[in-house]
């Protein structure tokens, strides 16, 4: 689930691709192959429904295809940050334009997509807990939603999130704490008497 931001051999290999991708479709195709999964997953974590996530992923890459000639970054890290920024923008736009987030949650819950994993097998009455978590996240400010998703669902370091969301790492840490505090309150409100459920 997490994505590291360390500079690797593969990443420096990607730096060259990023520069070439402005004019070379093959290089752009390579970047697409590297990042399709990450973008789709990010969209899915924010939107919950596969088809919607796929649609927004499409918007992201079509935007990349036509914007990349103006992209001024030179490294793969630059590109990744840019890609997440576009993804965040597209997700936020979709949510703003449709105002159907509640419907998304219902659809996700009904399809059983949101459930417990690993050693914590879902119980029939517990399947609703995860939609509640997402519902709670959905009640946060869009920037907080993006922050929580990037940090905890995608494993993006604060330094990188700072570039994506235009903040400082320290400021984002504070913002995260506030967002989680708010999240806890929202969950307590929606789950009276359910504290300490399936802890991990």
């Amino acid at each position: 689930m997490s994505m590291t931001a360390t500079k690797t051999g593969a990443e420096s290999f990607g730096d060259d691709i990023v520069v070439r991708a402005r004019t070379d479709p093959q290089a752009l195709g390579s970047l697409y192959d590297r990042y399709y999964d990450k973008v789709f997953r990010y969209c899915l974590h924010r939107l919950f429904v596969t088809d919607v996530a796929a649609d927004v992923t499409s918007s992201v890459f079509l935007s990349v295809a036509t914007h990349i000639r103006r992209f001024e970054g030179t490294t793969e890290a630059d590109f990744r940050n840019w890609l997440y920024a576009i993804s965040t923008h597209e997700v936020d736009s979709w949510i703003r334009s449709t105002k159907r987030r509640a419907e998304l949650l219902r659809a996700a819950a009904m399809s059983g997509r949101l459930k417990l994993a690993g050693g914590c097998e879902p119980q029939p009455d517990r399947n609703t807990e995860w939609p509640e978590l997402y519902q709670a996240i959905a009640k946060l400010k869009p920037k907080h939603q993006a922050l929580i998703t990037l940090r905890y669902f995608e494993g993006v370091p604060y330094e990188q999130i700072a570039q994506i969301l235009h903040g400082t790492p320290a400021g984002l840490r504070v913002m995260t704490s506030r967002a989680l505090k708010k999240l806890r309150k929202l969950l307590k409100r929606s789950q009276p008497g359910k504290a300490g459920d399936c802890h991990v």
Binding site: D16, P25, Y32, D37, T57, R184, V200
Partner: protein, 447 residues
């Protein structure tokens, strides 16, 4: 529930969300993305109503020289991208008006002024549109001083006009050279499956009609030619790079600015007239009386032989070394122009034969590349700097969607079959399979 940030982190790790995208989405999106990229790269040529990358190929053979082709590419870049009007429904009177006008539009005219680095002077193109799918371009260029007839007064530069008429429904085109009274009837053979659909998507007026829901960024207000205008920048994937300025009081488009890809230059579209009366004769595909009729057919049946011949000619014209890219970028065009200067000046007949030979070969090369990619296969070019004749170094490899093996083309243009794609050198991009999985793992996302 969670008690700390660490708890929450642990909790999210245990979520089990279906992470698989819809079947085929990855591949289809890649195709769409590369098509959008190609459009943005101004691959469209004026002789091609097909509306995809093949379009540019057709234009290459039709145009008289690289500079004119490049100019045409500008014009078609505008066409290719289309114009979205970025309407906030009901938010402003101006855009409500625009929506109403566009919805009811059946004809439109405008003027595109293309300024690009390869050309010393701007190119003016008058454009006429008739819904659905009919278009006429009247491209006017100044003749370079050295090419003007001696009888021409020096003070007034001579211009030459090329008229291109397309019917995207019929997939036919007519190119007219009024100076030489030549009419070129364009025929397309073996068009790709999606060509018709792609062509319809390129219908400028159709784009306008769809545009009312496009996403946009507000650019504020300014004055153009004494008119107060409001500006909007498209945030829609297909329309990036275009800023539209509309009359702040009526919503009628006043100016659209487009920045061309590859730092080629800019296009400014002005003089918009919606629903003018346009005579059907403007869009007639019949050659005018008195014109000498030539026929030009473009066969999109691609073969490996065509690919190889195209590669050979391209490398030959680039000084015996394979170029950085197979895309007709300004850089490549300049390189080819320079090569021409190093060779003895051919006779007019030789130049024409050479032009046709190269146009055909390059068309085959590009068509092959695009057809493989469009069908969900792989086509990887890594030939930059490889010498023509190098038998040990791959310059490209490809694999059709359902093929079991890769075909690898080496610098001496011999081919080999292989179960695996060659491992790219450190400075070359990884293979990009249609499935998204690099056979050698080189493009696997870092974990």
């Amino acid at each position: 529930m969670f008690d700390s940030n660490e708890d929450f982190e642990q909790l999210t790790r245990n979520l089990n969300i279906d992470r698989q995208p819809p079947p085929g989405h990855r591949q289809e999106l890649k195709r769409q993305m590369l098509a959008a990229f190609a459009q943005a790269q101004a691959d469209q040529g004026p002789a091609c109503p097909a509306g995809n990358r093949h379009a540019g190929l057709k234009g290459l053979s039709l145009m008289r020289n690289w500079k004119i082709r490049a100019a045409a590419a500008i014009v078609l870049a505008a066409m290719a991208a289309g114009v979205y009007l970025f309407v906030d429904r009901g938010t402003t009177v101006a855009f409500a008006d625009v929506k109403e006008q566009i919805d009811g539009a059946t004809t439109m005219t405008m003027t595109a002024t293309s300024t690009m680095k390869l050309l010393p002077r701007p190119v003016i193109t008058k454009m006429f549109f008739k819904y659905p799918g009919q278009m006429r371009q009247e491209i006017t260029m100044e003749v370079p001083p050295g090419k003007q007839p001696a009888t021409q007064p020096a003070a007034k530069p001579q211009t030459q006009t090329t008229i291109c008429i397309f019917d995207m429904q019929k997939m036919q085109a007519l190119i007219l050279d009024p100076n030489q009274k030549i009419a070129m009837v364009v025929e397309y053979k073996n068009l790709p499956k999606n060509a018709m659909e792609d062509a319809k998507r390129q219908d400028f007026l159709a784009q306008l009609k769809k545009a009312v829901a496009g996403k946009h960024e507000d650019l504020g207000e300014k004055t153009i030619a004494g008119k107060k205008v409001k500006g909007y920048r498209s945030l829609d994937g297909r329309m990036i790079g275009m800023d539209i300025w509309v009359d702040a009081s009526t919503g009628v488009p006043v100016q659209i600015d487009q920045t061309l890809p590859n730092d080629m230059g800019t296009v400014t579209m002005t003089d918009f007239v919606i629903n003018p009366k346009l005579d059907d004769s403007l869009f007639s595909l019949a050659a005018p009386e008195g014109y000498k009729v030539e026929k030009q057919s473009f066969d999109f049946h691609v073969t490996e032989e065509g690919l190889i011949e195209g590669m050979r000619l391209l490398a030959t014209r680039c000084g015996g070394v394979f170029p950085k890219t197979l895309t007709p970028t300004p850089e490549l065009i300049k390189q080819l122009e320079q090569d021409k200067k190093t060779r003895p000046k051919p006779t007019a007949a030789q130049a024409e034969a050479e032009r046709k030979e190269f146009g055909k070969a390059f068309t085959s090369l590009m068509a092959f590349q695009v057809s493989i990619a469009n069908a969900g296969g792989e086509f990887i070019y890594v030939g930059e700097g490889v010498k023509l004749g190098d038998k040990d170094t791959p310059v490209l490899w490809y694999k059709a969607k359902d093929a079991k093996q890769y075909t690898i083309v080496y610098g001496d243009l011999h081919t080999e079959q292989s179960d695996k794609a060659p491992k790219p050198a450190a400075s070359t991009p990884a293979p990009s399979a249609g499935s998204g999985q690099a056979p050698n793992g080189a493009s696997t996302p870092p974990q």
